[in-house]
């Protein structure tokens, strides 16, 4: 029975243990030990099946929402994710990040901002896992802890929050969020040689420096803007054209283009060690966008280089204390199972002892599985393209010649006469358009253009 439970736990851990109602039912069963076995076993089985079914249901909803997102059915994805994002459980941050991605791609900018803000507040908090969740994550299942994401996921949550503010021309808050995004990646750099590693790590997130520079420009702080652009260039010299002060100052249309998909978490055979795949080398170089405006290809002057590659950023994952705990538990579990097998096979063996050792080993192995929850909607890269267009409306096409089928066409894109209008695009293979600007979500809110700065 115990082994059966544990095997089921391996299959479906997320829902089984966090469900405190199920746990307390077990507790009651244990306390009221007077249940005869023929009653106890079916009840336990029913509880397990119920827990599995509810877990399966939630996982299926997430899977469906991710699938909808990938094919560009954002309305359905939002409907599926909204109830989950409202639940303040261990997936609160994750589901709000997922929902934020969907809302942003569908131009529900205010909603996306709320989603990312909710995630931001918990990500920035400490001690959210204190008490029962820490105990549970160590003893039972890491997925009991409240998901706050890997550093690159935290940085991207802050980046998108900043982007929603930037689109709405709330540059002070955009600046705050972009600065916070850089903080989230500092964590990496503090093991060992502090100074050098800070530099090495922050260089991977030149995206943050770029957007910070743009914010400072809009806030009329040219010196600070230049400093940020210089830092972006210092760390990533190939972004020289993109981080050019004058180009960004003159631009009246900013295109923010999410392309591809970020890394996915995977466990080793044992399940105790987690890593990210694919590596940038496995995935190949990031294709570059080509922008066609009113039928003419824009000369992007090498600005179309990716300012970030999340596949590379994810490879810097920091080893955490809980990783060590999992590995030790798993190794102990392996040892106990081996010892149990040996006990069972030797002459004059004690079958009870063998069973006990194996069972204890299985328990340890089962509870040493790595947390593989992740933000599936993240792109591989986010292109930032500040362009200068004649004031008025334009037809705009985004093509990726090196990625077959990846294109998106929009009619009626507004280029303001003053300031800068920001447009966000999520490239999906099955979502080429053509679309008319403004999209329905902006029409509903009474906004017909991307806001133009003064």
């Amino acid at each position: 029975m115990c082994c059966l439970l544990l095997q089921m736990n391996l299959l479906q851990r997320k829902i089984f243990f966090p469900g405190s109602s199920v746990a307390s039912c077990f507790a009651r069963l244990r306390v009221r030990g007077s249940f005869p076995p023929f009653v106890r076993l079916p009840v336990v089985l029913c509880l397990v099946v119920l827990a599995l079914l509810s877990g399966c249901a939630e996982d299926q909803v997430i899977d469906q929402a991710v699938s909808d997102y990938v094919i560009g059915d954002y309305a359905n994805a939002r409907n599926l994710l909204r109830p989950l994002a409202d639940k303040t459980d261990e997936n609160f941050v994750l589901n709000n990040c997922r929902l934020g991605s969907v809302d942003l791609a569908d131009y529900h900018i205010n909603d996306a901002q709320k989603d990312f803000l909710r995630a931001y507040e918990v990500i920035n908090s400490v001690g959210v896992n204190n008490g029962g969740r820490t105990l549970g994550a160590i003893a039972l299942d890491e997925e009991i802890k409240i998901w706050k994401g890997e550093p690159f996921e935290r940085a991207m949550a802050n980046f998108y929050l900043g982007l929603t503010y930037y689109i709405q021309q709330d540059y002070p808050n955009a600046r705050g969020a972009f600065e916070n995004a850089l903080f989230k990646l500092r964590d990496y750099g503090e093991e060992g040689d502090k100074g050098d590693q800070y530099t090495q790590v922050e260089s991977n997130f030149a995206l943050g420096f770029l957007m910070l520079g743009k914010c400072y420009q809009r806030l009329d702080r040219p010196d600070d803007a230049q400093k940020m652009f210089d830092q972006a260039i210092q760390y990533r010299p190939e972004l020289r054209e993109l981080a050019n002060f004058d180009v960004n100052q003159k631009s009246n249309v900013l295109l923010v283009i999410d392309f591809g998909y970020g890394p996915y978490k995977q466990k080793n055979v044992d399940g105790a060690i987690v890593g990210f795949a694919p590596t940038p080398a496995e995935a190949g170089p990031v294709p570059r966008p080509m922008i066609v405006v009113d039928g003419q290809t824009l000369d992007l002057e090498h600005m179309n280089r990716p300012p970030v590659d999340l596949l590379a950023l994810a490879q810097d994952r920091r080893w955490q204390s809980i990783d060590t705990i999992r590995v030790v538990k798993s190794a102990l579990g392996t040892g106990l199972i081996a010892a149990g097998a040996y006990e069972g096979l030797r002459q004059h063996s004690d079958p009870g002892l063998a069973l006990g050792l194996i069972a204890a080993g299985v328990v340890l192995k089962a509870t040493s599985q790595a947390d593989v929850r992740q933000w599936e909607m993240l792109p591989r890269t986010t292109f930032i393209l500040p362009v200068s267009l004649p004031p008025g409306t334009h037809d705009l096409a985004i093509n990726f010649p090196a990625a077959v089928g990846m294109s998106q066409t929009w009619h009626g894109i507004v280029a303001p006469s003053t300031g800068e209008a920001t447009y966000y695009f999520r490239m999906q293979r099955y979502d080429a358009g053509p679309y008319d600007w403004p999209p329905p979500a902006l029409t509903l809110t009474g906004s017909t253009t991307a806001p133009a700065a003064n």
């Binding site: 115990c2 966090p18 507790a27 244990r30 507040e121 400490v126 896992n129 008490g131 969740r133």
Partner: protein, 203 residues
């Protein structure tokens, strides 16, 4: 007969299983006390305690300022427009509602305790935001038709740092009552606070 119980009683290693099961149950019961994602934890952002302390102090400071009292004696009720907080904080977001709350509460306290000394004028953004909502209530004259003499503004600045162990924010919140005609500062005061959040095991 309880054969399962008999088995466990006769096999010594079953105690191990029972202990493990007991531990699981204890942990499971512990999990029942798990707080939600928004109930537990804290951060270094300005919170409701700061809001109350800061605005109480600012309202008292404005009301007790000799310069403000002199202006009231010479001009009568001061016509003041209240602006939301300007966010100049490092790595901190201040959503609009919060930005408005930090000055709105000062206005509320002063209008409650000194209604005969101040006239409060809705700021331009709030006026147009309300007008967009197409409310059936009259909003009064347009902002351009109003002529506030003073502006209550606040600027929040902070120095932030974050490492894998700790996050700290040192805040300087400056309030000013400025004369829009002479561009002079009639009154100013500040609120300072430093906050530190030490990261826990799973942070």
């Amino acid at each position: 007969m309880d054969t399962e119980g008999a088995f466990f009683q006769t096999v010594p290693s079953a105690q191990l299983l029972r202990s493990a099961a007991g531990l699981l149950v204890v942990v499971a019961i512990g999990l029942a006390g798990c707080a939600s994602a928004v109930e537990s934890g804290h951060n270094t952002a300005l919170d409701s305690v700061d809001l109350t302390a800061m605005t109480d102090r600012m309202a008292a400071s404005i009301a007790g300022s000799p310069e403000v009292q002199a202006a009231i004696q010479s001009e009568g009720k001061l016509r003041i427009v209240v602006e939301p907080v300007v966010n100049e904080m490092e790595a901190e977001v201040l959503p609009r509602g919060q930005a408005e709350a930090f000055t709105a509460r000062v206005r509320f306290l002063l209008s409650q305790h000194a209604p005969d000394r101040f006239t409060w004028i809705m700021n331009r953004d709030a006026y147009y935001r309300l007008r967009q909502q197409e409310l059936d209530v009259p909003l009064g004259p347009a902002p351009d038709a109003m002529n506030p003499r003073y502006a209550l503004v606040a600027r929040f600045r902070s120095l932030a740092d974050e490492s894998s162990q700790v996050r700290s924010d040192a805040y300087l919140c400056v309030y000013e009552l400025s004369d829009l005609q002479t561009r002079t500062i009639l009154w100013t005061d500040k609120y300072e606070v430093k906050k530190t959040a030490v990261k826990a095991f799973l942070d």
